[in-house]
Protein backbone atom coordinates (compact mmCIF):
# COMPACT_ATOMS: atom_id res chain seq x y z
CA UNK A 1 0.00 0.00 0.00
CA UNK A 2 2.83 2.37 0.91
CA UNK A 3 4.44 1.65 -2.47
CA UNK A 4 1.21 2.58 -4.22
CA UNK A 5 0.95 5.87 -2.30
CA UNK A 6 4.58 6.75 -3.02
CA UNK A 7 3.88 5.85 -6.67
CA UNK A 8 0.92 8.22 -6.68
CA UNK A 9 3.13 10.96 -5.20
CA UNK A 10 5.75 10.44 -7.90
CA UNK A 11 3.06 10.17 -10.56
CA UNK A 12 1.57 13.48 -9.43
CA UNK A 13 4.79 15.27 -10.46
CA UNK A 14 4.58 13.73 -13.92
CA UNK A 15 0.90 14.65 -14.04
CA UNK A 16 1.64 18.27 -13.20
CA UNK A 17 4.40 18.51 -15.79
CA UNK A 18 2.27 16.77 -18.43
CA UNK A 19 -0.66 19.07 -17.58
CA UNK A 20 1.61 22.07 -18.11
CA UNK A 21 2.34 20.78 -21.64
CA UNK A 22 -1.35 20.15 -22.27
CA UNK A 23 -2.34 23.63 -20.99
CA UNK A 24 0.02 25.29 -23.48
CA UNK A 25 -1.04 23.03 -26.31
CA UNK A 26 -4.77 23.43 -25.73
CA UNK A 27 -4.46 27.19 -25.72
CA UNK A 28 -1.98 27.64 -28.55
CA UNK A 29 -1.68 24.35 -30.48
CA UNK A 30 2.05 24.61 -29.90
CA UNK A 31 4.46 22.61 -27.77
CA UNK A 32 7.63 23.87 -26.14
CA UNK A 33 10.32 21.21 -25.93
CA UNK A 34 12.38 23.56 -23.77
CA UNK A 35 9.66 23.74 -21.11
CA UNK A 36 11.62 21.57 -18.67
CA UNK A 37 14.84 23.51 -19.11
CA UNK A 38 13.07 26.84 -18.58
CA UNK A 39 11.30 25.41 -15.54
CA UNK A 40 14.61 24.22 -14.13
CA UNK A 41 15.88 27.80 -14.29
CA UNK A 42 13.43 28.59 -11.45
CA UNK A 43 15.04 25.94 -9.27
CA UNK A 44 18.54 27.16 -10.10
CA UNK A 45 17.44 30.70 -9.28
CA UNK A 46 16.23 29.35 -5.90
CA UNK A 47 19.55 27.58 -5.34
CA UNK A 48 21.47 30.72 -6.17
CA UNK A 49 19.36 32.92 -3.90
CA UNK A 50 18.63 30.60 -0.97
CA UNK A 51 21.26 27.85 -0.89
CA UNK A 52 24.27 29.88 -2.03
CA UNK A 53 23.35 33.43 -0.94
CA UNK A 54 21.16 32.67 2.09
CA UNK A 55 17.92 34.35 0.92
CA UNK A 56 14.36 33.67 2.07
CA UNK A 57 12.98 30.38 0.67
CA UNK A 58 9.31 31.32 0.23
CA UNK A 59 10.11 34.56 -1.61
CA UNK A 60 12.62 32.71 -3.78
CA UNK A 61 10.08 30.03 -4.70
CA UNK A 62 7.39 32.55 -5.64
CA UNK A 63 9.91 34.67 -7.56
CA UNK A 64 11.32 31.59 -9.28
CA UNK A 65 7.89 30.45 -10.44
CA UNK A 66 6.99 33.97 -11.64
CA UNK A 67 10.28 34.37 -13.51
CA UNK A 68 9.77 31.04 -15.23
CA UNK A 69 6.21 32.02 -16.11
CA UNK A 70 7.44 35.28 -17.65
CA UNK A 71 10.13 33.43 -19.63
CA UNK A 72 7.44 31.08 -20.93
CA UNK A 73 5.34 34.12 -21.81
CA UNK A 74 8.23 35.68 -23.75
CA UNK A 75 8.78 32.48 -25.70
CA UNK A 76 5.03 32.36 -26.29
CA UNK A 77 5.14 35.82 -27.89
CA UNK A 78 8.01 34.75 -30.14
CA UNK A 79 6.43 31.38 -30.95
CA UNK A 80 3.14 33.09 -31.77
CA UNK A 81 4.87 35.34 -34.28
CA UNK A 82 6.76 32.37 -35.68
CA UNK A 83 3.52 30.44 -36.12
CA UNK A 84 2.27 33.24 -38.38
CA UNK A 85 4.90 32.27 -40.95
CA UNK A 86 2.65 29.31 -41.76
CA UNK A 87 5.49 26.79 -41.39
CA UNK A 88 4.62 24.54 -38.46
CA UNK A 89 8.26 23.51 -38.12
CA UNK A 90 9.46 27.02 -37.21
CA UNK A 91 8.16 27.20 -33.60
CA UNK A 92 8.89 23.50 -33.12
CA UNK A 93 12.52 23.78 -34.19
CA UNK A 94 12.88 27.03 -32.25
CA UNK A 95 11.89 25.27 -29.06
CA UNK A 96 14.79 22.87 -29.62
CA UNK A 97 17.06 25.88 -30.16
CA UNK A 98 15.81 27.34 -26.91
CA UNK A 99 16.46 24.02 -25.22
CA UNK A 100 20.05 24.00 -26.45
CA UNK A 101 20.64 27.60 -25.37
CA UNK A 102 19.04 27.20 -21.93
CA UNK A 103 20.82 23.91 -21.20
CA UNK A 104 24.13 25.42 -22.20
CA UNK A 105 23.61 28.46 -19.98
CA UNK A 106 22.60 26.39 -16.92
CA UNK A 107 25.61 24.11 -17.41
CA UNK A 108 27.86 27.16 -17.80
CA UNK A 109 26.58 28.92 -14.68
CA UNK A 110 25.91 26.04 -12.31
CA UNK A 111 28.35 23.46 -13.65
CA UNK A 112 27.93 20.11 -15.39
CA UNK A 113 26.96 17.34 -12.98
CA UNK A 114 27.35 19.56 -9.91
CA UNK A 115 24.82 18.20 -7.34
CA UNK A 116 22.86 20.72 -5.28
CA UNK A 117 20.25 19.97 -2.67
CA UNK A 118 17.12 21.93 -1.87
CA UNK A 119 16.31 21.92 1.85
CA UNK A 120 12.98 20.05 2.19
CA UNK A 121 10.08 22.46 2.61
CA UNK A 122 8.23 19.95 4.70
CA UNK A 123 10.40 18.28 7.34
CA UNK A 124 9.70 15.42 9.72
CA UNK A 125 9.93 11.69 9.38
CA UNK A 126 6.81 10.45 7.73
CA UNK A 127 3.67 8.46 8.05
CA UNK A 128 3.77 4.83 9.16
CA UNK A 129 1.53 2.65 7.02
CA UNK A 130 1.56 -1.12 7.36
CA UNK A 131 5.05 -1.09 8.79
CA UNK A 132 6.38 1.08 5.98
CA UNK A 133 7.29 4.74 6.19
CA UNK A 134 5.94 7.25 3.69
CA UNK A 135 8.07 10.41 4.00
CA UNK A 136 6.13 13.64 4.59
CA UNK A 137 7.96 15.22 1.68
CA UNK A 138 6.23 12.78 -0.67
CA UNK A 139 2.84 13.53 0.84
CA UNK A 140 3.60 17.24 0.55
CA UNK A 141 4.31 16.73 -3.17
CA UNK A 142 1.01 14.90 -3.60
CA UNK A 143 -0.87 17.59 -1.68
CA UNK A 144 0.57 20.48 -3.70
CA UNK A 145 -0.10 18.64 -6.96
CA UNK A 146 -3.71 18.00 -6.00
CA UNK A 147 -4.18 21.66 -5.00
CA UNK A 148 -2.63 22.86 -8.30
CA UNK A 149 -4.68 20.46 -10.40
CA UNK A 150 -7.82 21.34 -8.44
CA UNK A 151 -7.14 25.04 -8.86
CA UNK A 152 -6.62 24.59 -12.57
CA UNK A 153 -9.89 22.68 -12.85
CA UNK A 154 -11.76 25.29 -10.79
CA UNK A 155 -10.42 28.16 -12.90
CA UNK A 156 -11.28 26.38 -16.13
CA UNK A 157 -14.74 25.33 -14.93
CA UNK A 158 -16.08 28.15 -12.80
CA UNK A 159 -14.45 31.43 -13.87
CA UNK A 160 -15.03 33.74 -16.83
CA UNK A 161 -11.38 33.44 -17.83
CA UNK A 162 -11.73 29.66 -17.84
CA UNK A 163 -14.87 29.90 -19.95
CA UNK A 164 -13.08 32.17 -22.41
CA UNK A 165 -10.13 29.81 -22.63
CA UNK A 166 -12.51 26.93 -23.29
CA UNK A 167 -14.13 28.97 -26.05
CA UNK A 168 -10.68 29.65 -27.48
CA UNK A 169 -9.86 25.95 -27.41
CA UNK A 170 -13.11 25.01 -29.14
CA UNK A 171 -12.97 27.59 -31.90
CA UNK A 172 -10.52 30.45 -32.00
CA UNK A 173 -12.22 32.34 -34.83
CA UNK A 174 -15.65 32.15 -33.19
CA UNK A 175 -14.14 33.27 -29.88
CA UNK A 176 -12.53 36.26 -31.60
CA UNK A 177 -15.84 37.22 -33.25
CA UNK A 178 -17.47 37.19 -29.82
CA UNK A 179 -14.96 39.76 -28.61
CA UNK A 180 -12.77 37.43 -26.58
CA UNK A 181 -9.13 38.66 -26.57
CA UNK A 182 -7.68 35.41 -27.89
CA UNK A 183 -4.11 36.68 -28.26
CA UNK A 184 -3.98 37.74 -24.62
CA UNK A 185 -5.55 34.48 -23.49
CA UNK A 186 -2.98 32.51 -25.43
CA UNK A 187 -0.23 34.41 -23.67
CA UNK A 188 -1.95 33.65 -20.37
CA UNK A 189 -1.86 29.93 -21.17
CA UNK A 190 1.87 30.23 -21.91
CA UNK A 191 2.41 31.89 -18.53
CA UNK A 192 0.24 29.44 -16.57
CA UNK A 193 1.59 26.37 -18.38
CA UNK A 194 5.24 27.25 -17.86
CA UNK A 195 4.67 28.33 -14.25
CA UNK A 196 2.96 24.99 -13.64
CA UNK A 197 6.04 23.26 -15.06
CA UNK A 198 8.13 25.28 -12.58
CA UNK A 199 5.96 24.02 -9.69
CA UNK A 200 6.40 20.44 -10.92
CA UNK A 201 10.16 20.97 -11.10
CA UNK A 202 10.30 22.34 -7.54
CA UNK A 203 8.32 19.34 -6.32
CA UNK A 204 10.56 16.89 -8.19
CA UNK A 205 13.69 18.34 -6.65
CA UNK A 206 12.23 18.09 -3.14
CA UNK A 207 13.31 14.46 -3.16
CA UNK A 208 16.14 14.53 -5.70
CA UNK A 209 19.50 16.21 -6.13
CA UNK A 210 19.47 19.18 -8.47
CA UNK A 211 21.82 18.49 -11.38
CA UNK A 212 21.84 20.28 -14.72
CA UNK A 213 19.94 18.22 -17.23
CA UNK A 214 18.35 15.94 -14.63
CA UNK A 215 14.95 17.50 -15.33
CA UNK A 216 14.92 15.33 -18.47
CA UNK A 217 13.96 12.39 -16.26
CA UNK A 218 10.66 14.17 -15.56
CA UNK A 219 10.15 16.01 -18.81
CA UNK A 220 10.53 13.11 -21.21
CA UNK A 221 8.08 10.76 -19.44
CA UNK A 222 5.80 13.79 -19.05
CA UNK A 223 5.90 14.39 -22.80
CA UNK A 224 5.11 10.71 -23.35
CA UNK A 225 2.23 10.95 -20.89
CA UNK A 226 0.95 14.11 -22.58
CA UNK A 227 1.16 12.28 -25.91
CA UNK A 228 -0.75 9.35 -24.43
CA UNK A 229 -3.41 11.90 -23.53
CA UNK A 230 -3.31 13.21 -27.09
CA UNK A 231 -1.95 16.56 -25.80
CA UNK A 232 -5.60 17.41 -25.14
CA UNK A 233 -7.19 15.31 -22.45
CA UNK A 234 -6.45 16.17 -18.81
CA UNK A 235 -8.25 13.08 -17.52
CA UNK A 236 -6.15 10.75 -19.64
CA UNK A 237 -2.99 12.56 -18.55
CA UNK A 238 -3.79 12.20 -14.85
CA UNK A 239 -4.75 8.55 -15.29
CA UNK A 240 -1.59 7.76 -17.30
CA UNK A 241 0.58 9.59 -14.74
CA UNK A 242 -0.91 7.63 -11.86
CA UNK A 243 -0.41 4.33 -13.68
CA UNK A 244 3.14 5.32 -14.66
CA UNK A 245 4.05 6.45 -11.14
CA UNK A 246 2.61 3.42 -9.36
CA UNK A 247 3.86 1.02 -12.05
CA UNK A 248 7.42 2.34 -11.93
CA UNK A 249 7.45 2.17 -8.12
CA UNK A 250 6.21 -1.41 -8.14
CA UNK A 251 8.73 -2.38 -10.82
CA UNK A 252 11.54 -0.72 -8.89
CA UNK A 253 11.10 -3.36 -6.19
CA UNK A 254 12.08 -6.07 -8.67
CA UNK A 255 14.40 -4.32 -11.12
CA UNK A 256 17.46 -2.14 -10.87
CA UNK A 257 16.87 1.61 -11.09
CA UNK A 258 18.03 1.88 -14.72
CA UNK A 259 16.16 -1.27 -15.77
CA UNK A 260 13.03 0.15 -14.22
CA UNK A 261 13.41 3.38 -16.17
CA UNK A 262 14.02 1.50 -19.40
CA UNK A 263 10.98 -0.74 -18.94
CA UNK A 264 8.74 2.22 -18.07
CA UNK A 265 9.86 4.09 -21.16
CA UNK A 266 9.54 1.01 -23.37
CA UNK A 267 5.96 0.53 -22.13
CA UNK A 268 5.22 4.17 -22.98
CA UNK A 269 6.80 3.77 -26.42
CA UNK A 270 4.71 0.66 -27.12
CA UNK A 271 1.59 2.45 -25.89
CA UNK A 272 2.37 5.42 -28.11
CA UNK A 273 2.98 3.13 -31.06
CA UNK A 274 -0.30 1.28 -30.56
CA UNK A 275 -2.27 4.45 -29.84
CA UNK A 276 -0.23 7.31 -31.23
CA UNK A 277 -3.21 9.63 -31.07
CA UNK A 278 -3.59 9.00 -27.37
CA UNK A 279 -6.06 7.21 -25.17
CA UNK A 280 -9.55 8.56 -24.42
CA UNK A 281 -9.23 10.96 -27.34
CA UNK A 282 -11.64 11.26 -30.23
CA UNK A 283 -10.30 10.46 -33.68
CA UNK A 284 -11.09 13.95 -34.85
CA UNK A 285 -8.76 15.51 -32.32
CA UNK A 286 -5.96 17.62 -33.71
CA UNK A 287 -2.38 16.54 -33.25
CA UNK A 288 -0.24 18.43 -35.62
CA UNK A 289 0.55 22.02 -35.02
Amino acid sequence: MATVIVGLCVGSIFALMACSIVVVHRGTHLVNFAQGEIAALGVFFYIQWVVLDGGRPVVAIVAGILIVGVLGLLFGIIAGRMARTGDHLVPLISSFGLFLATRSITVGVWGPGEPYQIPPLFGGDGWQLGGELIPFSYLFVLGVSVVCAGGLYAVARFTTVGLRIRALVENRDAAEVMGIPTARLQLATWFVGTALAAVATFLFFQNNYVVTGSIDSVLIPAFAIAAVGGFEHFGAVVLASAVYGVGSQLMSQYLTFAGNDVLSLVILVVLLFLMPRGILVAKSARYSS
Binding site: L89, I93, L98, S104, I105, V107, F273, P276, R277, S288
Partner: protein, 338 residues
Protein backbone atom coordinates in the same frame (compact mmCIF):
# COMPACT_ATOMS: atom_id res chain seq x y z
CA UNK B 1 6.68 36.60 -65.11
CA UNK B 2 8.33 33.83 -67.07
CA UNK B 3 11.87 33.35 -68.29
CA UNK B 4 12.46 32.74 -72.01
CA UNK B 5 15.86 31.99 -73.45
CA UNK B 6 16.84 33.02 -76.93
CA UNK B 7 17.76 29.79 -78.86
CA UNK B 8 21.01 31.18 -80.22
CA UNK B 9 22.01 32.35 -76.75
CA UNK B 10 21.10 28.95 -75.36
CA UNK B 11 23.38 27.20 -77.87
CA UNK B 12 26.22 29.59 -77.04
CA UNK B 13 25.61 29.02 -73.34
CA UNK B 14 25.72 25.24 -73.70
CA UNK B 15 28.96 25.43 -75.65
CA UNK B 16 30.46 27.87 -73.17
CA UNK B 17 29.54 26.14 -69.90
CA UNK B 18 30.74 22.75 -68.83
CA UNK B 19 27.99 20.25 -67.90
CA UNK B 20 26.84 19.92 -64.30
CA UNK B 21 28.74 16.62 -63.89
CA UNK B 22 32.02 18.36 -64.65
CA UNK B 23 31.34 21.03 -62.01
CA UNK B 24 30.38 18.33 -59.52
CA UNK B 25 33.42 16.21 -60.32
CA UNK B 26 35.72 19.20 -59.98
CA UNK B 27 34.15 20.09 -56.63
CA UNK B 28 34.63 16.55 -55.36
CA UNK B 29 38.27 16.54 -56.42
CA UNK B 30 38.81 19.90 -54.69
CA UNK B 31 37.17 18.61 -51.49
CA UNK B 32 39.25 15.43 -51.51
CA UNK B 33 42.49 17.29 -52.13
CA UNK B 34 41.66 19.87 -49.47
CA UNK B 35 40.76 17.14 -46.98
CA UNK B 36 44.02 15.32 -47.70
CA UNK B 37 46.11 18.47 -47.41
CA UNK B 38 44.47 19.31 -44.09
CA UNK B 39 44.73 15.85 -42.57
CA UNK B 40 48.04 14.49 -43.93
CA UNK B 41 50.55 14.28 -41.10
CA UNK B 42 48.41 16.38 -38.77
CA UNK B 43 46.47 14.04 -36.46
CA UNK B 44 44.46 16.80 -34.78
CA UNK B 45 43.31 18.40 -38.04
CA UNK B 46 42.59 14.93 -39.45
CA UNK B 47 40.25 14.28 -36.51
CA UNK B 48 38.53 17.63 -37.12
CA UNK B 49 38.06 16.86 -40.83
CA UNK B 50 36.76 13.38 -40.01
CA UNK B 51 34.36 14.81 -37.42
CA UNK B 52 32.98 17.32 -39.93
CA UNK B 53 32.51 14.53 -42.49
CA UNK B 54 30.72 12.32 -39.96
CA UNK B 55 28.41 15.17 -38.93
CA UNK B 56 27.78 15.93 -42.61
CA UNK B 57 26.82 12.30 -43.29
CA UNK B 58 24.40 12.06 -40.35
CA UNK B 59 22.91 15.50 -40.99
CA UNK B 60 22.44 14.78 -44.72
CA UNK B 61 20.49 11.69 -43.70
CA UNK B 62 18.39 13.72 -41.28
CA UNK B 63 17.53 16.05 -44.14
CA UNK B 64 15.38 13.32 -45.72
CA UNK B 65 13.09 13.72 -42.72
CA UNK B 66 13.44 17.42 -41.90
CA UNK B 67 13.89 18.84 -45.39
CA UNK B 68 11.82 16.47 -47.49
CA UNK B 69 9.11 15.14 -45.18
CA UNK B 70 9.00 18.44 -43.26
CA UNK B 71 9.00 16.62 -39.94
CA UNK B 72 11.27 16.88 -36.91
CA UNK B 73 13.15 13.85 -35.66
CA UNK B 74 15.51 13.91 -32.72
CA UNK B 75 16.26 10.22 -33.05
CA UNK B 76 19.28 10.57 -35.32
CA UNK B 77 21.61 10.23 -32.34
CA UNK B 78 19.93 6.97 -31.34
CA UNK B 79 20.34 5.56 -34.85
CA UNK B 80 24.02 6.55 -34.74
CA UNK B 81 24.34 4.80 -31.39
CA UNK B 82 22.76 1.56 -32.61
CA UNK B 83 24.79 1.63 -35.83
CA UNK B 84 28.03 2.11 -33.92
CA UNK B 85 27.29 -0.59 -31.33
CA UNK B 86 26.20 -3.11 -33.99
CA UNK B 87 29.02 -2.33 -36.42
CA UNK B 88 32.01 -2.27 -34.06
CA UNK B 89 31.85 -6.00 -33.05
CA UNK B 90 32.17 -6.89 -36.77
CA UNK B 91 35.43 -4.98 -37.18
CA UNK B 92 37.34 -8.27 -37.15
CA UNK B 93 35.55 -9.18 -40.39
CA UNK B 94 36.69 -5.94 -41.96
CA UNK B 95 35.71 -2.30 -41.88
CA UNK B 96 33.43 -2.61 -44.92
CA UNK B 97 31.49 -5.52 -43.42
CA UNK B 98 31.20 -3.67 -40.12
CA UNK B 99 29.99 -0.57 -41.95
CA UNK B 100 27.38 -2.62 -43.78
CA UNK B 101 26.14 -4.07 -40.49
CA UNK B 102 26.01 -0.56 -39.05
CA UNK B 103 23.95 0.58 -42.05
CA UNK B 104 21.46 -2.27 -41.59
CA UNK B 105 21.22 -1.57 -37.86
CA UNK B 106 20.66 2.11 -38.62
CA UNK B 107 17.98 1.18 -41.15
CA UNK B 108 16.10 -0.87 -38.55
CA UNK B 109 16.38 1.93 -35.97
CA UNK B 110 15.23 4.46 -38.55
CA UNK B 111 12.20 2.33 -39.36
CA UNK B 112 11.35 2.01 -35.66
CA UNK B 113 11.65 5.79 -35.34
CA UNK B 114 9.46 6.22 -38.39
CA UNK B 115 6.75 3.77 -37.36
CA UNK B 116 4.79 6.51 -35.64
CA UNK B 117 5.20 8.71 -38.74
CA UNK B 118 2.65 6.47 -40.38
CA UNK B 119 -0.04 7.78 -38.05
CA UNK B 120 1.01 11.08 -36.53
CA UNK B 121 2.95 14.15 -37.55
CA UNK B 122 4.24 17.43 -36.16
CA UNK B 123 5.21 17.64 -32.53
CA UNK B 124 3.51 14.31 -31.72
CA UNK B 125 5.98 12.61 -34.04
CA UNK B 126 8.87 14.65 -32.63
CA UNK B 127 7.81 13.53 -29.14
CA UNK B 128 7.76 9.90 -30.24
CA UNK B 129 11.27 10.11 -31.72
CA UNK B 130 12.47 11.83 -28.54
CA UNK B 131 11.14 9.07 -26.31
CA UNK B 132 12.41 6.25 -28.54
CA UNK B 133 15.83 7.92 -28.63
CA UNK B 134 15.97 8.18 -24.85
CA UNK B 135 14.81 4.59 -24.43
CA UNK B 136 17.57 3.39 -26.80
CA UNK B 137 20.19 5.41 -24.93
CA UNK B 138 18.98 4.08 -21.57
CA UNK B 139 19.05 0.49 -22.81
CA UNK B 140 22.64 0.82 -23.98
CA UNK B 141 23.63 2.67 -20.79
CA UNK B 142 22.07 0.21 -18.37
CA UNK B 143 22.85 -3.15 -19.99
CA UNK B 144 26.38 -4.20 -18.93
CA UNK B 145 26.66 -6.67 -21.83
CA UNK B 146 26.49 -3.71 -24.21
CA UNK B 147 29.31 -1.95 -22.44
CA UNK B 148 27.14 0.00 -20.03
CA UNK B 149 27.68 3.67 -19.38
CA UNK B 150 31.46 3.22 -19.26
CA UNK B 151 31.90 2.35 -22.92
CA UNK B 152 34.67 0.47 -24.69
CA UNK B 153 37.68 1.15 -26.92
CA UNK B 154 37.41 0.72 -30.68
CA UNK B 155 40.40 -0.54 -32.65
CA UNK B 156 40.49 -0.94 -36.43
CA UNK B 157 43.59 -1.97 -38.38
CA UNK B 158 42.94 -1.45 -42.07
CA UNK B 159 40.35 -0.87 -44.76
CA UNK B 160 40.69 -2.79 -48.07
CA UNK B 161 44.32 -3.43 -47.23
CA UNK B 162 45.18 0.21 -46.44
CA UNK B 163 46.34 0.75 -42.85
CA UNK B 164 43.91 2.92 -40.90
CA UNK B 165 45.71 5.88 -39.39
CA UNK B 166 44.18 9.27 -38.66
CA UNK B 167 44.64 10.46 -42.25
CA UNK B 168 43.10 7.41 -43.93
CA UNK B 169 40.25 7.40 -41.40
CA UNK B 170 39.57 11.05 -42.21
CA UNK B 171 39.67 10.36 -45.96
CA UNK B 172 37.34 7.36 -45.47
CA UNK B 173 34.88 9.62 -43.63
CA UNK B 174 35.11 12.29 -46.34
CA UNK B 175 34.53 9.73 -49.11
CA UNK B 176 31.50 8.33 -47.29
CA UNK B 177 30.13 11.86 -46.80
CA UNK B 178 30.60 12.61 -50.52
CA UNK B 179 28.82 9.38 -51.47
CA UNK B 180 26.00 10.29 -49.09
CA UNK B 181 25.63 13.75 -50.60
CA UNK B 182 25.74 12.35 -54.14
CA UNK B 183 22.98 9.85 -53.30
CA UNK B 184 20.95 12.68 -51.74
CA UNK B 185 21.42 14.84 -54.84
CA UNK B 186 20.59 11.97 -57.19
CA UNK B 187 17.46 11.10 -55.21
CA UNK B 188 16.45 14.75 -55.10
CA UNK B 189 16.24 14.89 -58.88
CA UNK B 190 14.61 11.47 -59.22
CA UNK B 191 10.90 10.64 -59.23
CA UNK B 192 11.35 8.96 -55.83
CA UNK B 193 12.74 12.12 -54.30
CA UNK B 194 10.02 14.17 -55.91
CA UNK B 195 7.43 11.80 -54.43
CA UNK B 196 8.94 12.03 -50.94
CA UNK B 197 9.08 15.81 -51.10
CA UNK B 198 5.53 15.84 -52.38
CA UNK B 199 4.43 13.81 -49.37
CA UNK B 200 6.13 16.38 -47.15
CA UNK B 201 4.35 19.27 -48.83
CA UNK B 202 0.92 17.75 -49.18
CA UNK B 203 0.32 14.07 -48.37
CA UNK B 204 -3.23 14.11 -49.74
CA UNK B 205 -2.16 15.55 -53.06
CA UNK B 206 0.72 13.09 -53.24
CA UNK B 207 -1.68 10.24 -52.48
CA UNK B 208 -3.97 11.37 -55.29
CA UNK B 209 -1.17 10.82 -57.82
CA UNK B 210 -0.52 7.26 -56.63
CA UNK B 211 2.31 8.10 -54.22
CA UNK B 212 2.03 6.17 -50.96
CA UNK B 213 2.54 8.65 -48.10
CA UNK B 214 3.03 5.76 -45.66
CA UNK B 215 5.70 4.13 -47.81
CA UNK B 216 7.43 7.42 -48.51
CA UNK B 217 7.55 8.42 -44.84
CA UNK B 218 8.84 5.02 -43.74
CA UNK B 219 11.43 4.93 -46.52
CA UNK B 220 12.70 8.43 -45.68
CA UNK B 221 13.05 7.56 -42.00
CA UNK B 222 14.76 4.27 -42.94
CA UNK B 223 17.25 5.99 -45.26
CA UNK B 224 17.95 8.62 -42.60
CA UNK B 225 18.67 5.72 -40.25
CA UNK B 226 21.13 4.17 -42.75
CA UNK B 227 23.08 7.43 -42.94
CA UNK B 228 23.04 7.72 -39.15
CA UNK B 229 24.13 4.11 -38.63
CA UNK B 230 27.13 4.52 -40.92
CA UNK B 231 27.94 7.91 -39.40
CA UNK B 232 27.77 6.46 -35.88
CA UNK B 233 30.13 3.65 -36.86
CA UNK B 234 32.58 6.13 -38.41
CA UNK B 235 32.27 8.31 -35.31
CA UNK B 236 33.39 5.33 -33.21
CA UNK B 237 36.32 4.71 -35.58
CA UNK B 238 37.41 8.35 -35.43
CA UNK B 239 37.15 8.74 -31.67
CA UNK B 240 38.52 5.25 -30.96
CA UNK B 241 35.99 4.94 -28.20
CA UNK B 242 32.34 3.96 -27.95
CA UNK B 243 30.02 5.18 -25.19
CA UNK B 244 26.23 5.69 -25.29
CA UNK B 245 26.35 9.12 -23.68
CA UNK B 246 28.20 10.53 -26.71
CA UNK B 247 25.11 9.99 -28.88
CA UNK B 248 22.66 11.70 -26.54
CA UNK B 249 19.72 13.99 -27.12
CA UNK B 250 21.95 17.06 -27.42
CA UNK B 251 23.81 15.56 -30.39
CA UNK B 252 20.46 14.95 -32.09
CA UNK B 253 19.47 18.60 -31.53
CA UNK B 254 22.85 19.71 -32.90
CA UNK B 255 22.20 17.59 -36.01
CA UNK B 256 18.87 19.33 -36.39
CA UNK B 257 20.63 22.68 -36.06
CA UNK B 258 23.13 21.74 -38.79
CA UNK B 259 20.34 20.83 -41.22
CA UNK B 260 18.31 23.97 -40.50
CA UNK B 261 21.23 26.40 -40.45
CA UNK B 262 22.71 24.92 -43.63
CA UNK B 263 19.47 24.70 -45.52
CA UNK B 264 16.59 22.26 -45.35
CA UNK B 265 15.87 20.09 -48.37
CA UNK B 266 19.11 20.88 -50.22
CA UNK B 267 21.85 18.37 -50.87
CA UNK B 268 24.59 20.71 -49.70
CA UNK B 269 22.60 22.26 -46.86
CA UNK B 270 23.51 19.75 -44.18
CA UNK B 271 27.14 19.69 -45.36
CA UNK B 272 27.42 23.46 -45.05
CA UNK B 273 25.75 23.26 -41.62
CA UNK B 274 28.20 20.57 -40.49
CA UNK B 275 31.21 22.54 -41.74
CA UNK B 276 29.96 25.76 -40.10
CA UNK B 277 29.41 23.89 -36.84
CA UNK B 278 32.88 22.30 -36.94
CA UNK B 279 34.58 25.60 -37.76
CA UNK B 280 32.62 27.28 -34.94
CA UNK B 281 33.74 24.56 -32.52
CA UNK B 282 37.37 25.22 -33.46
CA UNK B 283 37.17 29.00 -33.51
CA UNK B 284 34.96 29.62 -30.47
CA UNK B 285 36.72 29.43 -27.11
CA UNK B 286 36.06 26.13 -25.35
CA UNK B 287 33.27 26.94 -22.94
CA UNK B 288 30.12 25.46 -21.52
CA UNK B 289 28.26 28.33 -23.17
CA UNK B 290 29.35 27.46 -26.72
CA UNK B 291 26.14 25.55 -27.53
CA UNK B 292 24.06 28.53 -26.37
CA UNK B 293 25.11 30.49 -29.44
CA UNK B 294 24.12 27.57 -31.68
CA UNK B 295 20.70 27.43 -30.04
CA UNK B 296 20.17 31.16 -30.55
CA UNK B 297 21.42 31.02 -34.16
CA UNK B 298 19.08 28.08 -34.78
CA UNK B 299 16.12 30.14 -33.56
CA UNK B 300 17.11 33.18 -35.60
CA UNK B 301 17.83 31.24 -38.80
CA UNK B 302 14.67 29.16 -38.70
CA UNK B 303 12.60 32.30 -38.19
CA UNK B 304 14.24 34.86 -40.46
CA UNK B 305 15.97 32.62 -43.02
CA UNK B 306 14.01 29.36 -42.95
CA UNK B 307 15.73 28.14 -46.12
CA UNK B 308 19.11 28.29 -44.34
CA UNK B 309 22.34 29.87 -45.51
CA UNK B 310 22.91 27.81 -48.67
CA UNK B 311 20.46 29.83 -50.81
CA UNK B 312 22.36 33.00 -49.89
CA UNK B 313 25.64 31.36 -50.87
CA UNK B 314 23.98 30.21 -54.10
CA UNK B 315 22.75 33.74 -54.86
CA UNK B 316 26.22 35.13 -54.25
CA UNK B 317 27.78 32.56 -56.57
CA UNK B 318 25.20 33.28 -59.28
CA UNK B 319 25.92 37.01 -59.03
CA UNK B 320 29.64 36.35 -59.28
CA UNK B 321 29.04 34.09 -62.26
CA UNK B 322 26.87 36.71 -63.97
CA UNK B 323 29.63 39.20 -63.52
CA UNK B 324 32.61 37.10 -64.48
CA UNK B 325 31.03 34.54 -66.82
CA UNK B 326 28.09 36.13 -68.68
CA UNK B 327 27.32 33.09 -70.83
CA UNK B 328 26.79 30.77 -67.87
CA UNK B 329 23.37 29.52 -66.67
CA UNK B 330 21.54 32.37 -64.99
CA UNK B 331 23.95 34.76 -66.64
CA UNK B 332 23.26 37.61 -69.03
CA UNK B 333 22.08 35.45 -71.92
CA UNK B 334 18.49 35.32 -70.60
CA UNK B 335 15.72 37.69 -71.36
CA UNK B 336 13.01 38.35 -68.83
CA UNK B 337 9.60 38.40 -70.43
CA UNK B 338 6.74 39.77 -68.40
Amino acid sequence: MSVRTDPATEVRRRRATPPRAVWGGAAIVVVLVLAYLLSAGQPYLATVVAGAAVYATAATGLDFVVGWLREVSVGQGAAMLVGAYCGVPFLEAGVLVAGLVAAVAGLVTGLVLGLAAVRVKGFALATYTLIVALAVELVFTSVPALGGGVGRPVIADSVVGIPLDTTTTAMLCVVVAILGVLLHARLRRSMTGLAWRGVGLNPSAAGSVAVSPVGARLAAFGLAGVYAGVAGFLFALVSGYLAPTVFGFELAVLMLAMVVIGGRGRSLGAVVGAVVFTVYQQVAPASAYSDAAIGVVLMVVVWFAPAGIVPYVGTGLRRARRRWWPGSPGGMGKELVA
